[in-house]
Symmetry: C2
Subunit: 192 residues, 2 copies
């Protein structure tokens, strides 16, 4: 199965168009997929004391369990979200905080933390207001890869096979935005 984890509040956004394009490719390839539209789901992103107590008691909060089952059943997970303040929107950051829990995403083994999701690959599609010139030479793009691809997904054993940065989205022409969508679709078609 393929999971699509999508985090943008606006159904008229470019992120929404990207999500639709990704689903079009999945359907054209006859792929079994699950869309997790975090805003539409009203996902609660705040990891709480009650969550910690539940985890410590050996159990898992209901809404977290549902997401873990979907991720467990996925061989490919596609994340679609805008970069806000050099990171994920809070609703997605909290999805990671709550769903990628100890014992599900990683665990201690012989005094080392090891990832438990090593049979999964990840594709990340990001939109940015910043330009490639802002984020390339300054090293910010490298740091986004490091904090996300390495610090989150690689830590859990997952393999990030594509991390696409779509720069300056609000400032480019309609044609350039269409080209971005075409590029994402053809990239995904080659992967699937």
């Amino acid at each position: 199965m393929v999971s699509v984890i999508y985090a943008h509040p606006n159904p008229k956004s470019f992120n929404h168009a990207l999500k639709e394009a990704v689903i079009e490719v999945l359907e054209s390839k006859g792929k079994n997929y699950q869309l997790r539209d975090l805003y539409a789901m009203g996902f609660n992103p705040v990891l709480s004391s009650l969550d910690f107590e539940t985890f410590l008691s050996g159990s898992v909060p209901e809404d977290v369990k549902r997401e873990q089952e979907i991720i467990k059943a996925s061989e490919l997970i596609i994340f679609i979200y805008p970069i806000w303040w050099t990171g994920m929107p809070a609703i997605l950051k909290g999805y990671i905080d709550r769903v990628f829990s100890y014992g599900f995403a990683y665990e201690e083994k012989d005094g080392e933390l090891v990832g438990l999701l090593s049979d999964k690959t990840v594709v990340i599609i990001n939109t940015l207001g910043a330009s490639a010139l802002d984020y390339g030479p300054s090293g910010m793009e490298d740091c986004l890869r490091k904090t996300t691809d390495t610090g989150i997904f690689r830590f859990c054993g997952m393999h990030v096979i594509e991390h696409i940065f779509l720069y300056a989205v609000p400032y480019v022409s309609d044609q350039e935005r269409k080209d971005m969508i075409t590029k994402v679709k053809s990239l995904l078609e080659d992967l699937l």
Copy 2:
């Protein structure tokens, strides 16, 4: 005024002890301060379509306005939070997403985005499960500084004068944790 923005769910946590220590120093120095305990406040971290509409109409959501007024009145802002998955807990990430809005934290001027909070300094106190050996040589600490200090605060014109990384907190001895608190207090005393 000094703002203390604190994000940890557990009142028995080391983060809580750090927050108490910071407040002790502020009180001993007779400083006027405001504590923003995001978990205790039940702060809503999800930037929504309604928020965007409110901002576009030239207004500001009520809960965001309150925070903006506090930040506006502060010359120093102290952030205390654990690093979860190489970033802020979602509740704090969403505080940035919602409160540091266009027109308040930054704006366009002659085709460039400029920070609007240049009269403010920032101190960041982070706890980590990772060790300094994990995060130093690998460049992860540099990327945390880059994404947070540069990508968020510097972008708004703010000056990060201290970013303290307290490593391997769950694995060190009680005495080492006490020493961490002493270090933070003396550092803050020198600053104030």
